[in-house]
Symmetry: C2
Subunit: 248 residues, 2 copies
């Protein structure tokens, strides 16, 4: 038995997200699991570090798979890449201890959200950048002030998109950077983990701060309320990218 860790890159535009949903939906996990089974002849389970929503991208999603086959990891990677569609690639592969699990062993994640704030429209990056009205004169300093108030260990129930979520909503967000890069505002989120839709809801709420519809101080009240209705709207999926997953 070998346990393989894979780093996977995908353009999520065409997909119903990472997570397999029966046999009908077009998912990244479903595609990879199916092809590994085809190549090795084994029925396998591919464990991702976590779900990504429909339309969300990944530069460095991590998954692991346990195989009875003694196939060389690089051979498996190359055969997978030849069979996968052009918008999914296995960038790295390697053997790890049997106890490694892409989700349970993860200790941190980095997400990036790209918002177009230029005067015209994005062309080459158009599938990875969100275009919204009324974002040409955001107050970036107020957004940074608001972002600082969300960093640290908090109950993020107000920023969770799953109303029936029953487990602990406490997460440690270690950093939210907001960078002005050419025609884009780039948000970088680092933390030990993120709830469903949490990065998109925080981004949508920070945009409301940038527009002046919320004050930075109100973010502390929104956190304390533990009520999704107090936070801002969820930003669209296409600007979001899972950059990397960290392990000990």
């Amino acid at each position: 038995m070998q346990n393989l860790k894979m780093v996977i890159c995908y353009d999520g535009t065409r997909y119903s997200g990472w997570q397999k949903q029966g046999n009908t939906a077009n998912t990244i996990q479903g595609k990879i699991e199916y092809l590994i089974s085809e190549i090795t002849g084994e029925t396998v389970s591919v464990n991702g570090s976590g779900r990504t929503d429909a339309g969300v991208h990944a530069m460095g999603q991590v998954a692991n798979v346990q195989l009875k086959s003694s196939m060389e990891p690089l051979e498996l990677r190359n055969r997978l890449n030849a069979l996968l569609p052009e918008d999914i690639a296995v960038k790295e592969i390697g053997e790890v201890p049997l106890r490694f699990h892409a989700r349970l062993s993860a200790v941190g994640k980095v997400y990036q959200y790209r918002l177009y704030v230029g005067e015209t429209k994005p062309v080459f990056e158009r599938k990875q950048v969100t275009v919204l009205d009324n974002v040409s004169s955001l107050n970036v300093e107020a957004m940074r002030d608001g972002a600082r108030r969300l960093c640290g260990i908090h109950d993020f129930t107000s920023f969770c998109g799953n109303p029936s979520f029953k487990k602990s909503a406490v997460r440690n967000v270690t950093q939210i950077e907001i960078l002005e890069e050419g025609d884009e505002l780039v948000f970088r989120f680092t933390g030990d983990g993120f709830l469903q839709n949490m990065v998109r809801i925080i981004t949508g709420t920070l945009i409301e701060v940038g527009r002046g519809a919320l004050t930075p101080e109100e973010l502390s009240l929104i956190l304390a309320a533990k009520d999704r209705k107090k936070a801002g709207p969820m930003a669209p999926a296409q600007g979001l990218m899972l950059m990397c997953v960290r392990y000990k």
Copy 2:
């Protein structure tokens, strides 16, 4: 009468090139000319700085258009961008002297060619990067040596894709840089102008040098032969991008 200069960005993947070809082909010039006529009610001619081949991209194509209408340039740009498909954008627009002509006034151009040389495959950049077999261990120093031999004022007939081209094929190529950027080899061409397919044929020939099928010294002989058959194959369109056009 006003003469407007536009800087235009396009993802050429879906198009039959810049240049209008009757009313049937899907071209960038055709789209822009049609929309300016629709918006202003005038029959107009859009002059590009030069053609780009089918599938070639532009970050900074330049075109000019003469209008009787007194419409504000920024209003025209915004209306155009709202009507143009998502893979074409007018990034800049401004009034210039009536004698300005995007092709005749141009004094230089910069092109970039992106070749994927990584171990797996490109995902987000897949429409702007060329993937070829046998490019994982190119001799980049030999390619740079070969590229230096092509710089300067030469007759580039051997690198011209139009066999019935009758005008002077003398061009001044001032620089060919070859940069190793992550999983890509990026070629940057600067010159006073380029013949049809010239950048793609030079790139294809330099790749042959990198593979060891040609020596750098042979590039001087190929130039001197003035014979297209002596040069290497034409590299695919999708890796090529017109970066900018220079004016006095």
